[in-house]
């Protein structure tokens, strides 16, 4: 079995001089930040508004939301899987939270209860979605694409059903204020601050816990992980739950921002979160990624759509571009994988 297989492709790559690979790695790492700066400078030549403080703040705030979704997707991609239901889960969580909070407000519940209940319901629904996905992927062993395609539809159905197809307006301030208005630290809007906190926590989770280590190992070689006694099923399940919880948190933040529960909130989020993760450097093969790629990717994608908005590029064209960017990013990812 260690001899060349029929196609001769299964032979493993042997040692390459380490200096080479390190410079290559640094090269790739710097590529994206450089690209981001270059793009902004380039666009500012045509449209100077791009570099205004207001716009930059805007971008940072927008990226914060996307960061949550990109990192959610990343957790699952690390294990070699995927979550297509992300967007629709966000929608259903938004609607559920909005209904809960408006209902409680109408019933005259105290402020703290509205807030806590809103968060609770949102995270609870997220937990359910994550558990559903995780269950079928880890215990039953169904392909994650198919499972999350199915849960996508289920969430979509639920979102449109319980909302009656229309947004749920007037989400009470008790809920939106802490998650959106103002800033804890002057100068840093709440969404950005929350995103930073989540990013730090996620970093610690991935880098410092057994769970995080297991995700990388499972993603890199599930059979080896299994043989080494790592409880794959458990961690795979938890990965999907973590993903949905992160997405839930992002959904709560978005709902607070729009002030309404939107059955369409998730819309293009699925594609954007994938784009952000992949562009940032998370490999679709699994086992490669981290919080830094998610951050960089989120900023890049947000900047791209921000620039296109300012340049008045139509929404449809943006969608086309997003599709092209995704394919290009995946192609690069493939090239990176074969080169490595």
């Amino acid at each position: 079995m260690s001899d060349a297989s029929i196609s001769g492709v299964s032979l493993p790559p042997a040692a390459e001089p380490s200096r080479h690979r390190n410079t290559a790695r640094w090269g790739y790492a710097l590529l994206l930040p450089l690209l981001i700066v270059a793009m902004e400078l380039g666009v500012s030549l045509i449209e100077p508004r791009v570099l205004s403080l207001r716009n930059i703040t805007n971008i940072l705030v927008q990226s914060s939301y996307l960061l949550l979704f990109a990192s959610a997707q990343m957790v699952v991609i690390l294990t070699g899987g995927f979550d297509l239901s992300l967007g629709m889960a966000v929608s259903v969580i938004s609607v559920a939270t909005a209904l809960t909070t408006t209902g409680l407000a109408a019933a005259g519940a105290p402020t703290w209860l509205i807030f806590v209940a809103g968060i609770g319901v949102g995270l609870g629904v997220g937990l359910l979605v994550g558990a559903f996905n995780g269950l079928f992927v880890s215990w039953v062993g169904v392909n994650p694409f198919v499972v999350t395609l199915g849960s996508l539809n289920i969430c979509y159905g639920l979102a449109t059903t319980i909302s009656g197809g229309r947004p749920v307006f007037n989400v009470p301030d008790a809920f939106t204020r802490p998650l959106y208005d103002g800033a804890f630290i002057p100068g840093i809007p709440i969404p950005v601050a929350l995103a930073i906190v989540v990013a730090i926590l996620l970093y610690l989770l991935l880098d410092r816990t057994v769970f995080g280590r297991a995700l990388y190992l499972i993603g890199n070689n599930p059979r080896a992980a299994n043989l080494a006694g790592i409880p794959q099923k458990r961690y795979l399940f938890l990965a999907y739950v973590t993903c949905s919880l992160l997405a839930a948190f992002g959904s709560l933040m978005l709902t607070a921002r729009t002030g309404s529960g939107e059955p369409n909130l998730g819309g293009s989020l699925m594609l954007e979160s994938i784009a952000a993760a992949v562009i940032g450097g998370v490999s679709l093969q699994g086992g490669v990624g981290g919080i830094v790629p998610a951050v960089l990717g989120s900023i890049f994608v947000t900047m791209l759509s921000n620039a296109m908005d300012l340049l008045e590029v139509g929404g449809y064209v943006q969608q086309i571009l997003l599709g092209c960017v995704i394919i290009a990013a995946i192609f690069l990812d493939r090239v990176r994988a074969t080169r490595a």
């Binding site: 029929i6 196609s7 198919v146 395609l149 289920i154 679709l284 394919i327």
Partner: protein
């Protein structure tokens, strides 16, 4: 009889008739039985189910799905996946309508030519998307999920861009009335189209090289390559045919609608996958029969129709669809695992 000391083989020959029937049941699965049972149950318990108009509707909408599902089956057999089918339908709808409208005056007296040009444009869309999908999967070795996710996004974007979301009217009457909404021998034209597609694919699967090649590519790519099967060619061909079949269905559906629309049934892709999986097509590839897929599509839409007649909210139906797909694939996974242990 050669004395073989192998204790591992099941080489005992099945002789009895019972074995034959059992084997064919195992092959055909529960699908025909389930379909029959459901049809009878619906006929008895669902109001208006057996009304001629209703049955014609079911037949017509199943036909569209059968064509698409047959295409999805091809791609599933070679071990791939096509998420872009729904988008291709939309793009085809829009493109064919726009082209027909554009050539309306040029061929003012020849509606046949107008239709021809529109149809060619529509099929062209399918061919292009299929080529992109196939080439990326075969040459760039990108995962089919990701490629078709990307092309889905791009195709939808184009469709919306071309029409700004507004339906395109103005297709020739003969196309809409005669073909789209017409009846030949009391049956919807779409039915004949679907029947022709199923027949053609059935012949391909059982009587041409391609039929075996795609099974080989999906079943054991290495074996196929080593045996000299031009794997890349047939891989790409599968994606092209899949997208073109989506176009065909799109053309027929557009004809029935009477206008080119960029926003068409968002669940189409999921439905085609569901129809295929229920029919025993494995997500892992290497297995699939078009007759079964046709039955699967009919089953799915009969179910949807019955739910509509029973006034079940379409949004809740979406939930059911999701659950059905997941369960069907889970069942497939379980049965494969048990087969491996035997």
């Amino acid at each position: 009889m050669a004395m073989s000391s192998n204790s591992t083989s099941d080489d005992a020959l099945p002789v009895s008739v019972f074995e034959r029937i059992f084997r064919s049941y195992r092959v055909a699965g529960f699908l025909p039985v389930l379909l029959t049972v459901l049809l009878v149950a619906f006929a008895l318990f669902v109001p208006n189910f057996v009304a001629v108009q209703n049955l014609l509707n079911v037949l017509r909408s199943s036909s569209y799905l059968v064509i698409i599902a047959a295409g999805q089956m091809l791609v599933l057999i070679v071990g791939g996946f096509d998420l872009s089918q729904g988008a291709v339908v939309a793009l085809t709808s829009v493109t064919s309508a726009l082209v027909m409208v554009a050539f309306k005056d040029t061929f003012a007296n020849e509606p046949g030519l107008i239709i021809l040009v529109g149809v060619l444009a529509g099929l062209g869309c399918g061919a292009i998307v299929g080529l992109v999908n196939g080439a990326c999967v075969a040459f760039l070795r990108i995962s089919p999920f990701m490629v078709t996710l990307g092309t889905m996004s791009i195709a939808t974007g184009f469709a919306l861009l071309l029409t700004s979301g507004i339906p395109v009217y103005g297709m020739p009457k003969s196309y809409v009335e005669g073909f789209g909404r017409g009846l030949w021998l009391d049956l919807p034209t779409a039915f004949y189209l679907a029947a022709a597609v199923v027949a053609a694919i059935w012949v391909m699967q059982n009587y041409t090289r391609m039929g075996r090649y795609i099974l080989a590519i999906g079943g054991n790519m290495q074996a196929a390559v080593v045996s000299g099967v031009p794997a890349k060619t047939y891989l790409i061909l599968s994606y092209v045919i899949c997208s073109m079949l989506a176009s065909v269905s799109g053309l027929a559906f557009t004809a029935q609608l009477g206008s080119g629309q960029a926003v068409i049934n968002a669940q189409l892709t999921l439905e085609s996958i569901a129809a295929a999986v229920i029919a025993g097509v494995s997500i892992k590839g290497g297995v699939g029969r078009v007759e079964m897929v046709a039955l699967g599509a009919i089953l799915l839409l009969t179910l949807t129709d019955a739910m509509d007649l029973l006034r079940i909210d379409p949004r809740i139906q979406a939930i059911f669809l999701g659950i059905i797909v997941v369960l069907a694939v889970a069942l497939d996974e379980f049965s494969q695992r048990r087969a491996a242990l035997v």
